[in-house]
């Protein structure tokens, strides 16, 4: 027991060290690049310099790791350890010259009691998220998507994709540009999940910092604190810190790019416009949602710019060109690998057809299990649920009700208020509307939940400016509402997160394995190929076992059988309960459709159920003919050893 604890403590220490080295390397590298721009003029506030340096360094390192992974087998500790240590050493040497504490000074204005309360609430949230980060995560997307992709890249030794059953495609989201995965890769290859979790935690800190800096430097300190308070009221807070993702990093890149555009409009230093383009490029490299967000970022250069039309167009052109240059490695990779610069968005491939066909019926999910939105909702209620989440599923995804309160005021101010001081406020409001609509249109309807964060942070700053401008008596009212919502949300988040906090930091990931994972990791030979239909189980498999997971319910057995043969699958995990569960899902769906008199769709779903039944029968026949059961586990799980298919 003592040895286990000591080894767990050493592993945790390595995770924290890897994270610290990465931050030192990124900060130093970013600061070194910024020094070139500041040769022209000293334009950055101390805090903004920290924010920009760290994220610029992270962005450059991430792009470099991606390119290195395209050139050859660079994803090996023997290459990454020395590179990171050298970069971190150079970074630390830069800060030996300066006083790091003075970098963090933020001015001498005193904070009011309300502001101190918000700061305390922020610190509590960050500490809880930090605790969650240094535990092994049990999130959703992080296991099925983000870390799964990172694990596969590490296994390959270079950049690549997971192969899943039955189609052979990777999980759809992994075809996005995945700059942040490159950071997680550094953490996971040198340590374990916790180093990667900490990198995600840093993006939470950076997001709060970005909201603060952009509000404080261009509007006022009071607005900055209220904007953070409004952000703390976002219902997605408890989801994001523990289910590691890329949305927060994308939002940070977007906000920094916007900050630099504002700064450029004020200073006209060309280096700043170029840097704004670099951050837009990093945003594009993080996820496809960066593309619609470019529309919002171009607005201040196009419409709220005092220069002539030719100069404006020139600036937009420069901004977009730099962004595209930074983004280009991902475009080139997609073109070379798949022949589609935005793969799979422009491709007519089968798994996209699958999502199109099933997506429609999947929206019926709320009638079967209350976790998602249904298209039978009147849209007005759907959009209302964005602000007041009526059920836990919505709470994961909702924005703050303060936005609902603020919308009438924002529209009123947009129409009535003129003058220089309202320009930024109204512009941010319009940008947030454009960002929201662009994301909603490009992401597909009823998908607002996680994407609200991009538009939401812009709107939080705009709305705070309006509230802070009110007379003292009315401002008190609105402060009360903001604080009530932020406090309630934070404590609801703590309650929800507590389920994840039961895993102490001094743990081994093996403690999280279920009986199936324990059996496979303990008994399968080195290099074994196992098809298991569960992407989560696949994540926990030993690195030397080749897993073929699945992330979709398929009715096509032929395709799956062909893949089993071509991939020389040796073990097949058959879950009786899962097969029955899928069939029961279709049956429930048919019942609901019939109840709603949607008979046509009920008939097509019945056909689907028949096809699924046929597929299961053929699957069972195949397993009887070509395999024998080597182990049965609780939950009606059977592990088959397959005969040599060749």
């Amino acid at each position: 027991m003592g040895i286990l604890l000591i080894s767990a403590a050493i592993k945790l220490l390595i995770s924290v060290t890897v994270f610290s080295l990465l931050v030192a390397a990124a900060w130093g590298l970013g600061d070194w690049i910024l020094a070139f721009i500041e040769k022209e003029a000293k334009v950055f506030s101390r805090l903004s310099r920290v924010l920009i340096s760290v994220n610029l360094g992270l962005g450059v390192i991430g792009q470099f790791v991606f390119i290195a992974g395209l050139i050859g087998d660079a994803y090996q500790p023997k290459f990454i350890w020395p590179s990171l240590i050298i970069l971190a050493f150079l970074g630390i040497m830069r800060f030996k010259i300066k006083n790091p504490v003075s970098v963090l000074e933020t001015g001498s204005q005193e904070f009011s009691k309300k502001e101190l309360f918000i700061i305390a609430l922020t610190v509590i949230s960050l500490v809880i998220w930090l605790y969650a980060a240094i535990s092994f995560t049990r999130g959703s997307d992080v296991i099925s998507h983000h870390y799964q992709h990172v694990k596969e890249c590490i296994k390959l030794g270079h950049f690549g994709h997971v192969v899943t059953l039955p189609s052979g495609y990777d999980q759809g989201s992994n075809y996005n540009p995945t700059l942040v995965h490159m950071h997680y890769l550094i953490g996971k290859i040198l340590s374990d999940d916790r180093a990667a979790n900490l990198i995600h935690w840093l993006s939470q800190v950076m997001l709060l910092m970005a909201i603060y800096v952009i509000s404080r430097d261009f509007i006022s300190r009071h607005v900055a604190v209220m904007a953070i308070a409004i952000y703390l009221g976002f219902s997605l807070l408890f989801n994001f810190p523990t289910d590691v993702n890329d949305y927060t990093a994308l939002t940070v890149f977007m906000l920094i790019s916007l900050y630099l555009i504002f700064l450029y409009n004020k200073t006209r230093v060309m280096g700043i416009l170029l840097l704004a383009g670099v951050f837009a490029g990093l945003m594009l490299s993080t996820k496809y949602y960066g593309i619609p967000l470019m529309m919002a970022l171009c607005l201040p250069l196009t419409f709220w710019n005092s220069r002539g039309i030719q100069d404006r167009l020139k600036e937009v052109f420069i901004f977009c060109t730099v962004a595209l240059i930074i983004y280009s490695p991902w475009v080139i990779y997609n073109l070379k690998e798949f022949g589609d610069p935005l793969y799979p968005s422009l491709s007519n491939i089968e798994y996209m057809k699958y999502w199109a066909a099933f997506g429609r019926e999947n929206t019926l999910f709320p009638f079967i299990a209350p976790t998602d939105h249904g298209y039978f909702w009147p849209n007005i209620f759907y959009f209302l649920s964005m602000f007041i989440p009526f059920e836990p599923g919505f709470r994961v995804s909702g924005l703050t009700p303060i936005f609902l309160i603020g919308l009438p005021a924002s529209f009123y101010y947009l129409i009535r208020m003129r003058g220089e001081q309202w320009k930024t406020v109204n512009m941010l409001f319009i940008m947030s509307l454009v960002a929201f609509i662009a994301i909603e249109v490009s992401g597909g309807p009823f998908l607002f939940y996680k994407f609200g964060i991009f538009a939401g942070v812009l709107y939080a700053i705009s709305l705070s400016s309006i509230f802070i401008s009110w007379q003292r008596d009315k401002r008190q009212w609105i402060w009360t509402a903001v604080i009530v919502v932020a406090t309630l949300n934070t404590f609801f988040a703590i309650k929800h997160i507590s389920a994840q906090l039961q895993y102490p930091p001094l743990w081994h990931q093996e403690y999280l394995w279920n009986p199936l994972e324990k059996y496979l990791n303990g008994n399968l030979e080195k290099g074994a190929v196992v098809a298991n239909h569960d992407i989560h189980t696949n994540y926990y498999l030993r690195p030397d076992i080749h897993g073929l997971p699945s992330h979709e319910t398929s009715t096509d057995w032929d395709k799956e059988e062909a893949m089993i043969r071509s991939a020389h699958v040796q073990y097949y995990v058959f879950r009786v309960n899962e097969e029955m569960g899928n069939a029961s899902y279709f049956e429930k769906m048919i019942n609901v459709l019939d109840r709603l008199s949607a008979h046509e769709r009920a008939a097509s779903t019945r056909k689907l159920l028949e096809l699924y039944g046929e597929r299961t029968r053929r699957q069972e026949l195949f397993l009887q003919k070509f395999g024998h059961v080597v182990k049965e586990l609780p939950g009606e799980i059977k592990i088959y050893r397959l005969l040599d298919q060749s």
């Binding site: 909702w377 007041i388 009526f390 709470r395 208020m417 001081q421 609801f492 309650k495 008199s597 008979h599």
Partner: protein
């Protein structure tokens, strides 16, 4: 820096807006408390209401027994 620069609003608008603020925050607080202390209660009510609303408001003709 934003200075106090409020537009002049009629007393009625102000009262209506204040009621709106109180209502929104109260509904939000209530849903949070009910969710925390009686999980599932809101779900069931919403499910029932939504199923009814679905038939009335659905844009899909086949859901209303319309065009086949």
């Amino acid at each position: 820096m934003i200075k106090n620069d409020e537009p002049v609003i009629s007393p009625i608008t102000r009262v209506v807006y204040t009621i709106f603020i109180v209502l929104v925050v109260s509904v939000y607080s209530l849903t949070v408390f009910i969710d925390v202390y009686s999980p599932g209660v809101i779900d069931k009510r919403i499910m029932k209401w939504r199923t009814n609303a679905a038939v009335i408001f659905s844009t899909d003709p086949s859901a209303r027994g319309g065009k086949k």
